[in-house]
């Protein structure tokens, strides 16, 4: 019975009736049973099983490596940048609100740079929203937030423009318009932006989960194939007393290499991506929240002077935002922060204390009815104003963010490369291993002719 005869049976039964199928099945199992009774038959079967296992291992490893590579790429070049993008949208909007209020307080005396900063914030928010829309699935929740913000952004800027026009005419209605614009920002737009940030963070978390998954199938198949190869070689050794079979040894080496490669790539991913998550993405997240609060506290500080005693809401807002900063956000930003950012974060804490002290002095003047002194203390030029203290805090936090973004890129760099290489390597190794089995067992088989 040769393999050729076995194969010939199948095409002959083109449309087998039920009994015919049963007959065929019976005959095939019969032949299988028969073939394991003879030594060459057993060898042939072992060869087929081992080759199959090896090819399966190659295919599974390739498939999982491609999947993990893709997931890694998703984290590195998609969800992490989108998450940063969302945070930047929030920051631009909050900064626009802060700058608009500062601009308003300075009235006609606002330096061109301050006016430009407000324009840049709006332009940046618009550009980032367009980018985010292009890179986000049309069905996702994020798309809804983006659409909402896109619709509100021109409404907001129109309100700010109206505020400026009325103020230039010397009418208090200008201040009311600015407070209305700011209310739209603080009660509708920023919460929507926060929703976008949260959605992107959730997605980043899910992608990290995928990318940090372990290739159990490939590893399991590798171990199984290795065991089968070893077992087969032990049997061969017992039957033939030949210690080395180059083909089979080569196949074993290929499987060991595949397993080793798999372990190395897995370890690289766990350490590189894990690092990028624990020491970059997560501290960056806490840092972003601190930056949001700082901007909103600054907006409240400015708006309190814009309101000129019309409402006490902004003193409440200031208290809440600064409490969030001092009561956790600044500490959380330090947890797991990469070494390079610690210095900036320490400086930020000092700047924060300096800022609140300056604010207190301004607030005391304002409460005492000395609006002019309060105005100078809050927005005045020179290094002694609360404006300068806030700018220092903002700069230190931005510096820390730059360090953490760089830390993310350097930690995650190369992880995807390991998986891509493995995907190709596993196929080549599996093919070599299968060839080894065919050659190695073919030798033994030839001895029976």
């Amino acid at each position: 019975m040769t393999p050729v005869q076995q194969q010939a049976v199948v095409p002959a039964q083109r449309q087998p009736s039920a009994p015919a199928t049963r007959r065929l099945l019976g005959r095939t199992t019969g032949r299988l049973r028969e073939s394991t009774r003879t030594a060459p038959g057993r060898l042939r079967l072992a060869g087929a099983v081992l080759t199959g296992l090896l090819l399966l291992l190659g295919a599974a490893t390739c498939w999982q490596a491609v999947g993990l590579g893709r997931a890694t790429d998703q984290v590195v070049s998609h969800s992490e940048p989108l998450s940063e993008n969302a945070a930047e949208i929030y920051r631009s909007l909050a900064d626009a609100d802060t700058t608009a209020a500062g601009n308003f307080l300075l009235a006609g005396n606002a330096p061109a740079a301050v006016h430009q900063r407000y324009q840049d914030d709006l332009a940046k928010a618009g550009r980032l929203l367009t980018e985010a829309a292009a890179r986000t699935d049309t069905s996702s929740a994020a798309q809804g937030s983006i659409a909402k913000l896109n619709q509100q952004l021109p409404v907001y800027s129109a309100l700010v423009a109206t505020a400026g026009t009325y103020d230039r005419q010397g009418l208090p209605l200008g201040g009311a318009y600015l407070r209305h614009a700011s209310e739209l920002m603080r009660t509708t737009m920023l919460p929507t932006a926060q929703q976008l940030v949260d959605d992107e963070r959730k997605r980043l978390d899910a992608d990290y989960e995928d990318a940090l998954g372990l290739p159990y199938l490939a590893a399991g198949l590798g171990v199984l194939t290795l065991a089968a190869l070893v077992w087969c070689q032990v049997l061969l050794l017992r039957r033939t007393n030949r210690v080395f079979n180059i083909g089979m040894l080569g196949a074993t080496a290929a499987v060991v290499l595949t397993l080793g490669w798999l372990a190395t790539a897995g370890a690289a991913a766990q350490s590189g991506l894990g690092d990028s998550r624990d020491h970059a993405a997560r501290p960056l997240r806490a840092l972003d929240q601190a930056r949001f609060s700082a901007l909103q506290a600054r907006a409240a500080e400015n708006l309190d002077l814009v309101a000129r005693g019309a409402t006490t809401q902004y003193t409440t807002d200031w208290a809440a935002d600064t409490k969030a900063l001092s009561g956790g956000q600044l500490d959380q930003a330090r947890q797991g922060a990469p070494e390079g950012s610690v210095q900036a974060l320490t400086a930020a804490r000092t700047a924060f204390q300096n800022w609140t002290a300056k604010h207190q002095a301004a607030a005391t003047a304002n409460d005492a009815g000395d609006y002019d002194t309060a105005l100078k203390a809050v927005i005045g030029p020179g290094s002694d104003s609360s404006d300068a203290a806030f700018a220092a805090l903002d700069q230190h936090l931005a510096d820390a963010a730059t360090v953490e973004q760089a830390a993310f890129r350097s930690a995650a760099r190369g992880v995807g490369g390991w998986w891509t290489a493995l995907a190709g390597g596993a196929v080549v190794l599996a093919a070599l291993g299968a060839a080894g089995v065919v050659v190695g067992l073919g030798r033994r088989l030839a001895e029976y002719r």
């Binding site: 208090p172 009311a176 000129r308 005693g309 009815g369």
Partner: protein, 305 residues
């Protein structure tokens, strides 16, 4: 017939609300002044028009302290157009209330400029007087029974109430017509809010905002149809937007006065004298013509207390 009866009822309610005088339409007011249920208790127990008899005596301890200091410290608003407002072009605070502050300084110290204008947020007016941070408050402050328990008031220097502000295009001729089926707006913790609670005038909805000026913003944006606020502030609204007007009658009459510390009886009596002189020497009328005539009408008679 029924319409007449309804209107009579409305007037009675409005009058009652006005006499209870629960606060100012400025918003963000002292909470005690805004609690509508607190008002009835004080209803019969006070006369918002009465104060100490005027006097030229300057031998009291408070006036001597002011003379020694050489400056009169007045708590003012900087956000009420034509009343107490910081002119962004000049950085100076100006308006009807500010003229009054200068007149008092001139009477006490001989120089209208010997005055320190301290800006006091609406919510901190009572506190500022009680703590002695300011000698007096001239800040469109409505005299109410609740406030009379906490501070002393001069005799009224302005007779006001509440007015409806609507777009001219709405062609409104009465408060009821202007509010029926409409989206109204009033400041939080203001007497207008109290009024609309006591008598909704058939409004479809009432939007409550932090400050009465926010109502004008919302009206311009088409989010509300009408604003109910203090007469004084209603006039400040119409002078900022020529497309809106004071419509219908004044409801809930009330009086505006100068607040001082209760213990400073010498100052209260002296200020009452200054107010009497201010009216008789034409200072009041001149200031009215300068700041308010354009928005409230050239005839000041309805506003003279």
């Amino acid at each position: 017939m029924r319409g007449v009866r309804n209107r009579a009822l409305v007037t009675v309610v409005a009058l009652a609300a006005g006499l209870l005088g629960a606060g100012s339409s400025q918003g963000a007011d002292a909470p005690a002044a805004a609690r509508p249920e607190a008002a009835p208790a004080a209803a019969g127990s006070c006369d918002t028009r009465s104060s100490l008899p005027p006097s030229r005596d300057e031998s009291g301890s408070k006036i001597r302290a002011i003379k020694q200091r050489g400056k009169l410290i007045v708590g003012v608003d900087q956000n009420s157009y034509h009343w107490g407002y910081r002119n962004p072009q000049t950085g100076r605070i100006e308006g009807f209330d500010i003229d009054l502050a200068h007149a008092i300084a001139k009477a006490l110290l001989g120089d209208p400029d010997k005055v320190v204008l301290k800006t006091v947020p609406t919510a901190k007016r009572i506190e500022a007087v009680q703590n002695g941070d300011v000698d007096l408050i001239a800040r469109t402050m409505t005299i109410t029974c609740d406030r009379l328990q906490q501070v002393a008031f001069s005799v009224p220097y302005f007779s006001s109430g509440q007015r409806l502000v609507v777009p001219k295009s709405a062609h409104v001729t009465s408060v009821d017509q202007g509010l029926r089926g409409k989206r109204a707006c009033a400041a939080d913790q203001s007497s207008s809010q109290t009024e609309l609670k006591a008598n909704p005038h058939g409004t479809a909805s009432v939007r409550i905002v932090a400050n009465q000026l926010d109502c004008l913003v919302l009206m311009q944006l088409g989010e509300v149809d009408a604003t109910l606020t203090d007469t004084t502030l209603a006039a400040a609204q119409t002078s900022q937007d020529p497309t809106v007007e004071l419509a219908g009658e004044q409801i809930a009459p009330a009086y505006t006065g100068i607040a001082m510390k209760k213990e400073n009886t010498d100052l209260v009596a002296r200020v009452n004298q200054v107010l009497a002189d201010y009216r008789s020497d034409g200072g009041w009328q001149a200031s009215y013509q300068h700041w308010l005539a354009a928005s409230m009408g050239t005839d000041p008679t309805p506003y003279l207390p």
